[in-house]
């Protein structure tokens, strides 16, 4: 499936309904589901959205997003009061800003290097970056503490999530919606359209006078900012961060989420994250025992199979399945297209 240039309007009614459903979710589901499935899916979705933004509009499949959110998460955890790390005891909001600034700067600097490469080389260089961040924090124990940074202080707004998870859920929801609006809005600006031009025809764009490397670097910086947001949200969610939270397995998980959801559509980030969180949690009880091949302990096998099936059947992910269904519906009922044209004409 080839990515398309986004010029269409945002599907506001869809967004409204989804947000409404998400806002009403606490009435229906219990605290555990709210925490472990919905809140987690929302912040994982933000992380995956930063990857999808780069992949869909910039043609850059980046494995650096976990490294970048690790930088933000570790920065935040070190700046506020916590057990382990440097525990600088800043105001949490100030620490949030500090973490985002650091992640964005690191992202810009790294993007400046990575933006010169493409395809598999881009993939490798970004993977190397994530591995580098992981080893940096594993080795520099003054920053990552002994056994990670624990009991990280949260902003007062979030209250005490252990007693009442609602404030944290709503904050995460608002941030996720904000990220979605920002990224989809950005893709429709001159910058976003230029980025999509760079994705499809870098040589022509260069001939038109665009600074292709700068364009890609800036896109990388924006994605780093979003990844930074995800990093801070992850620390708010886990209340801790360890080098293990940002290891290679997590890097792959974020890629899997993006691919399962749909690598070419921003919505895919959250669809994939929700699917992932559901499988991650419930497969530990539901999966039947099939010899030593499959069983509740084989959660990774199941995710791997889902990943394979998605890649083979619908390269556009779950969202792509819907696109496919819609396309075949349209072919079967050409009258709709005629109706559409007339309405657009009026």
């Amino acid at each position: 499936m080839n990515p398309t240039v986004s010029t269409g309007r945002l599907a506001w009614p869809v967004l409204a309904v989804v947000v409404l459903l998400a806002a009403l979710a606490p009435l229906i589901v219990e605290d555990f589901f709210l925490n472990v499935i919905l809140t987690k899916a929302l912040w994982l979705g933000v992380a995956a959205a930063s990857l999808i933004f780069l992949a869909a509009y910039g043609g850059m499949v980046s494995l650096a997003q976990v490294g970048l959110y690790g930088v933000a998460g570790m920065t935040y955890a070190n700046l506020v009061l916590a057990d382990g790390g440097s525990a600088a005891a800043w105001n949490p909001w100030l620490a949030l800003i500090g973490a985002l600034v650091v992640a964005t700067l690191v992202g810009l600097g790294f993007g400046w290097i990575a933006a010169r490469s493409e395809g598999i080389y881009f993939l490798m260089i970004t993977l190397a970056f994530s591995v580098l961040v992981f080893y940096f924090f594993s080795q520099v124990t003054t920053l990552s503490g002994f056994g990670g940074v624990n009991n990280v202080q949260l902003p007062g707004l979030l209250g005490s999530p252990e007693e009442d998870p609602l404030p944290r859920y709503f904050v995460t929801l608002v941030v996720a919606v904000g990220v979605f609006l920002l990224l989809s809005g950005l893709s429709r600006t001159a910058f976003g359209l230029g980025l999509q031009g760079v994705r499809d025809e870098p040589a022509r764009m260069r001939a038109l006078g665009f600074d292709v490397t700068l364009h890609r670097t800036l896109a990388f910086g924006i994605a780093a900012f979003i990844a930074g947001v995800a990093g801070v949200l992850s620390v708010w969610y886990n209340r801790r961060i360890t080098p293990g939270s940002i290891n290679l397995a997590q890097t792959i998980d974020i890629l899997i989420i993006a691919v399962i959801g749909g690598l070419y559509r921003l919505e895919g980030a959250w669809v994939g994250a929700l699917a992932y969180a559901l499988i991650d949690n419930y497969s530990r009880e539901w999966v039947p025992e099939v010899g030593s091949v499959l069983g509740p302990a084989r959660f990774n096998t199941l995710i791997g199979v889902v990943f394979l099936v998605i890649v083979l059947l619908s390269p556009g992910g779950i969202v792509g399945i819907w696109d496919g269904v819609r396309a075949s519906l349209r072919e079967r009922r050409p009258s709709i297209r005629g109706g559409g044209a007339s309405v657009e004409g009026t």
Binding site: V36, D83, R240, N281, R284, P296
Partner: protein, 473 residues
């Protein structure tokens, strides 16, 4: 129109997804509720729900079944349970404590990262509604679960076999209990042995670069330096390293000995490469931590390690009747292969943890409604005899075990299976976590440079070790 059509179609799909999500939540609620009511009917007095947490993925994934076998065997022995299948993870049936039914709500599986351990803890405690939990397995996980415990004072946690010192010494959650020695305690007796028996004055240490080896090697440093020894070089290799040659070449020649704290598959590579680089493994000037007499390590490279000494809280060759009973109980329940891992600290830690939990629950008549009482009871629990076949266990004020540790030597194969044997020669009585004040809540946690090598008052067991010989009897 096309755009409009597209949006409404999307509305449908997302709404459907959201409903699926909500539906899952409801299902879970239903099944959870159903489980509780049916068991309540059968016992009349409510069910004690235990959550179990170990690792089935990651570096320690292969210890999943052995850890379960330890916990289950305690339930079989002290709570009248029966194995529900051939594999330990098939569960147990018919367990009763103080007349109440006991149910293991789920065998939780983490992957040695703190995040996954906490997610599984949440699933066990919040989704499966467990009253108490036993676990986790690995260092960083233990610190995270102890912190989780601190935030949930109305629930009770008994550690599985996570050995990082901080979990009890620093976190000090009043509802987190560890009924086995930590990683530093497992090294007790080796500093004394090196200085006074082997005559080492200076030593180097080498280990994996993460929390457990820091703790494990710190026990040696604390004891060896307190007596008067000097640790002149500390070498750390990244966990999962395969090529140790550059680290082996960093080992100085002008030291009397080397303490090796490399674990698992890394140790096998280390020994092979050491042999290639230096001709032979000079075990007469080498000590190893808890991994050295691991059955797998002995099988692969044991012949090269003959002559080396190591220490831990179990002794495979012990002839104590209680040890024999423990191994027989394991074998009766799960067969020879699993029972062969009985002396592994992984199986044994979960066994003593579950045994202590059962004793604590018995002391409060199985009442888990007010867990303050259960926590008070657990703090006073001591284990002896068949409850803790390798030596009595009691807790200190941080709810950390004070227990015996054994110093062992790897010797040539005597029983004809081609794998070198372990010969225990010393029992270090009542090892406590503080090493006579070297470790306290205020001292820096063990890391690459801590604890500092300082001469001081040696821990109380130095000079009080008891020579043992299981082979002569």
């Amino acid at each position: 129109m096309l755009k409009g059509h597209r949006s409404w179609a999307l509305v449908g799909v997302v709404a459907a997804l959201a409903l699926v999500g909500a539906g899952c939540g409801d299902d879970e609620e239903d099944s959870g509720g159903g489980g509780t009511s049916s068991s309540e009917e059968s016992s009349g007095g409510g069910t004690i729900k235990i959550g179990f947490l170990s690792d089935c993925e990651g570096a320690f994934g292969s210890f999943f079944e052995p850890t379960i076998s330890g916990a289950n065997t305690a339930l079989i022995k002290f709570a009248g349970a029966k194995p529900a299948g051939e594999k330990p993870s098939d569960g147990v049936t018919g367990a009763k404590i103080a007349g109440k039914d006991v149910e293991i709500v789920s065998y939780g599986c983490a992957d040695d990262t703190a995040d996954k351990a906490i997610e599984e803890t949440r699933r066990l405690m919040e989704q499966e509604d467990a009253d108490v939990m036993i676990g986790p397995l690995s260092g960083d996980e233990g610190i995270a679960v102890a912190n989780y415990a601190k935030e949930h004072p109305d629930q009770t946690f008994v550690n599985g076999i996570a050995g990082a010192q901080d979990a009890t010494l620093k976190v000090q959650a009043p509802n987190f209990f560890r009924f086995h020695p930590d990683g530093a305690q497992w090294s007790a007796g080796l500093g004394d042995y090196a200085y006074n028996d082997l005559g080492w004055k200076t030593a180097a240490i080498i280990g994996d670069d993460y929390s457990f080896p820091y703790t494990s090697l710190s026990g040696f440093v604390a004891e060896f330096c307190a007596i008067g020894g000097n640790v002149s070089k500390r070498i750390w290799a990244p966990l999962g390293e395969e090529d140790y040659s550059s680290y082996i070449s960093q080992i100085p020649d002008n030291v009397d000995g080397l303490y090796v704290g490399i674990g698992g598959a890394g140790l096998i590579n280390f020994v092979k490469q050491y042999q290639e680089q230096k001709g032979r493994v000079d075990t007469e000037r080498m000590l190893g931590n808890v991994f050295w007499d691991d059955p797998l390590v002995l099988k692969e490279v044991g012949k090269s390690l003959v002559g080396g000494a190591t220490a831990a809280m179990t002794a495979a060759d012990s002839d104590e009747p209680a040890v024999k009973t423990y191994l027989k109980d394991l074998e009766d329940a799960y067969g020879k292969e699993i029972a062969g891992l009985g002396p592994s600290v992984f199986t044994y830690g979960y066994y003593t943890g579950m045994t202590a939990l059962i004793k604590g629950l018995e002391a409060v008549n199985g009442d888990v409604s007010d867990q303050k009482k259960l926590q008070e009871a657990l703090a006073g629990v001591t284990l002896s005899g068949e409850e803790a076949p390798w030596g009595d266990v009691k807790l200190d004020d941080n709810r950390q075990a004070i227990s015996d540790v054994y110093v062992k030597k790897i010797v040539k194969d005597a029983n004809g299976d081609g794998v070198p044997d372990v010969q225990t020669f010393r029992r270090i009585p009542e090892v406590d976590q503080t090493f006579n004040g070297v470790f306290s809540p205020d001292t820096p946690a063990p890391d690459r440079t801590n604890p500092k090598c300082v001469k001081g008052e040696p821990p109380p067991w130095v000079g009080n070790a008891e020579e043992v010989d299981f082979s002569s009897k």
